[in-house]
Amino acid sequence: MLEVFIFSTLNGLVTGLLLFMLASGLTLIFSMMGVLNFAHASFYMLGAYFAYSISLHLGFWMGLIFAPLIVGILGAVVERFALRRVHAHGHVAELVFTFGLAFLIEEAVQFFWGPDTKNYQSPDILDFPLFTLFGQEFSAYRGFMIAISVGIFIGLYYVLTRSRIGIIIQAAITHPHTVANLGHNVPFIFMGVFGVGTALAGVAGVIAGPVLTTFPGMAVVLGSIVFVIVVIGGLGSLGGAFIASLLIGLLQSYAIASNVGMPDLLNLVGLEFSRDHPLTDLWTLTLPQIAPILPFLLLVLVLIFRPTGIAGKREQ
């Protein structure tokens, strides 16, 4: 039991921190633009594919350095030459644009890399068990994923709260005109934040690619959960996104590892249904089976009981 709990917690941390890397960029971009970027997870996918291609020639580590850079530059170019123009036409136009961009990136990925899953491998140097507990191994690569994610979280937190550029970004998000009047180039700052946000998604893609598999549908798989996280965390809140990411990661991990099912719950209240009952499928559901829909269930509950999310502020 303890073994299941410890490994579920570690796996939940890996997933949660990975989700945070995506959610942090998305929620920062939302704070800035006031609109959700539906193409955000597509940048995560691009990170994985660019890293895969680079790793074929220069190895995994070069991919880890250059793929997020390429994705970040691509994100900045998208903001500067497309999104900024669309922004002038309002939020609906922006939403439609980011939707279109997501489809475009998915098609482009299939065009250039094909529809098959890529054999993107983690580096050999991390191909060993970090530790063995209760006879079960925890891979060094997963430990590396945790280290990178925590490092990025600390770096991001430091830059945003302690550095001058972080102070300017915070102020520009809430008072763009005042910040411009003080001599700061707000459009350039926004482009930079968009670029860094997409680069973070790129990093997530680079490190998740070898574990979660690199295929053209990977953006769709993770994209919807990332949206759930930023809504649960509170739109625009970095702290809320962090809590929600860990919450979803751990929740899914515990659900998958548990053996609890509907029959157990029904037995607790003294109910039992026969095998030939018309709703047998429903009465025999297990928690691992419903694990994938738990984030969305949580989203619905949050929207009903706390629409602003964990740390979001109600609009005035």
């Binding site: 102070i167 809430t174 005109h177 411009a180 009047n181 001599g183 700061h184 707000v186």
Partner: protein, 231 residues
Amino acid sequence: MLKVRNLHAYYGKSHILQGVDFSVEEGEIVSLLGRNGVGRSTTVKAIMGEVAPQGSILFKGEEIAGKPSFEIAHRGLGYVPENRDIFPTLTVRQNLLLGIKSGQVQGRWTIDEMFDMFPNLAERADVHGGVLSGGEQQMLCMCRTLMGDPDMIMIDEPTEGLAPKIVEQVGDLLEEIASRGVAILLVEQKLSVALRISHRLFVMGHGRIVYEGTPDSLMQSDDIRAEWLEV
């Protein structure tokens, strides 16, 4: 320093500024007076690029009409808006640091000097700007603009909603700023401050300048005050 010629500005179809002409020289304190709604705030917003201007705005001999706000600020023109716009979740010190432009060399003002001038701000250096009193916020807003080392600042209604004693302090600060060679364009409704510290005054009415003079000449022009200033 600043020469505004035939400045027009619109809010939608409303023609707010209808050919404004005035100038501010180096180290001078110039006040822009007038009743509410005559276009005083719109004039400074148009100069700063917050409202689309039509006409000519020369700052230090260069045309700035239509340039982005950050570029105008970089050329040395500071702006303290009417609503103060303190960043409420940042500390007093962080608010001041925000005033320093990227790549700026040491200017005429330092944070320590600001704190010497305003011990109240020094005592509250690490508290959030949002909890300061109205007077402290006004001082912080002016100090923040000065941290960018401007050659001229435009201040919109700095005494609005402040107690008489604080109004006096604001006036003293403006004189101190001017004594260091910074030109000031003061947008005011309160005659007392403007008459005390200004070198020249412009009165606005119906979107244009209707009077230009000195504090003494305005005090002698009862008809101008009655027609354009008194309520």
